[in-house]
């Protein structure tokens, strides 16, 4: 298994409270990603990072922010949680670099965090 851990694994919170999810990797990979998975939608990209302090938005970034101060950690923050953010959140990593021919783009996923916003 790729060395990816997510914390917490489960969290229940109330609407309007801030929430931070953590993704930690031991692979020293450049790229890290946050996805959410909801019934009927499949996995959707929230934000991704292509290096320390380098991040960009994905398909469903509204209401989320991210930070990456170290190669191994990628944080996802919900500044003011809403019920629509109830979901399962997955972190992924990739060994891809901007200089490869695109043959190492596989993404490996963590175990997920189940977040419930009441």
């Amino acid at each position: 298994d790729a060395g990816i851990t997510q914390s917490p694994r489960h969290k229940v919170t109330e609407t309007g409270t801030p929430v931070t999810l953590r993704c930690h990797q031991t692979e020293n990979h450049r790229y890290m990603y946050w996805y959410r998975q909801d019934p009927g939608h499949g996995l959707r990209l929230i934000h991704y990072s292509y290096g320390v302090k380098d991040t960009d938005k994905g398909e469903v970034s509204d209401g989320y922010s991210v930070s990456r101060s170290k190669t191994e950690d990628f944080l996802l923050t919900l500044e003011s949680a809403t019920s629509s953010q109830t979901s399962v959140y997955f972190c992924a990593i990739s060994s891809a670099t901007p200089w490869t021919g695109g043959t190492d783009n596989e993404q490996f996923f963590g175990p997920g965090t189940r977040l419930t916003v009441l």
Binding site: G42, L43, L45, H47, Y48, G58, E59, T103, N105, F108
Partner: protein, 115 residues
């Protein structure tokens, strides 16, 4: 907009009954097509990457193929432990913007293999 459609949504087979799962996609300049397996309560597990039409990859009872418009995951003589949700995803060229390095997933095929 990149789109990925998987069919069927669900499939129930008897042990040993071979079948295929379909993934059709629309993306400009495919960088890669990925197959994952996901068990309940767990993260997706990487299976295959396909990069160009005509490419095939195999792993145990699974074989993935790719054309210019779709990919198939063939399951030969499946066993109950092959029961899972199978996810297909595509990656767009890095220049398309909007999280181009991320993957666009289909909704998955829920496969049940009965003993």
């Amino acid at each position: 907009e990149d789109q990925v459609t998987q069919s069927p949504e669900a499939l129930r087979l008897q042990e040993g009954e071979s079948s295929s799962l379909n993934c059709s996609y629309t993306v400009s300049g495919l960088r890669g097509l990925f197959w994952y397996r996901q068990d309940p309560g767990k993260g997706p597990e990487f299976l295959f990457t396909l990069y160009s039409a005509g490419e095939e990859k195999e792993k145990e009872r699974l074989k993935a193929t790719l054309t210019k418009k779709e990919s198939f995951l063939h399951i030969t003589a499946p066993k109950p432990e092959d029961s899972a949700t199978y996810l297909c995803a595509v990656q767009a060229p890095v220049y398309s913007g909007g999280g181009a390095d991320g993957l666009t997933f289909g909704k998955g095929t829920h496969l049940i293999i009965q003993p």
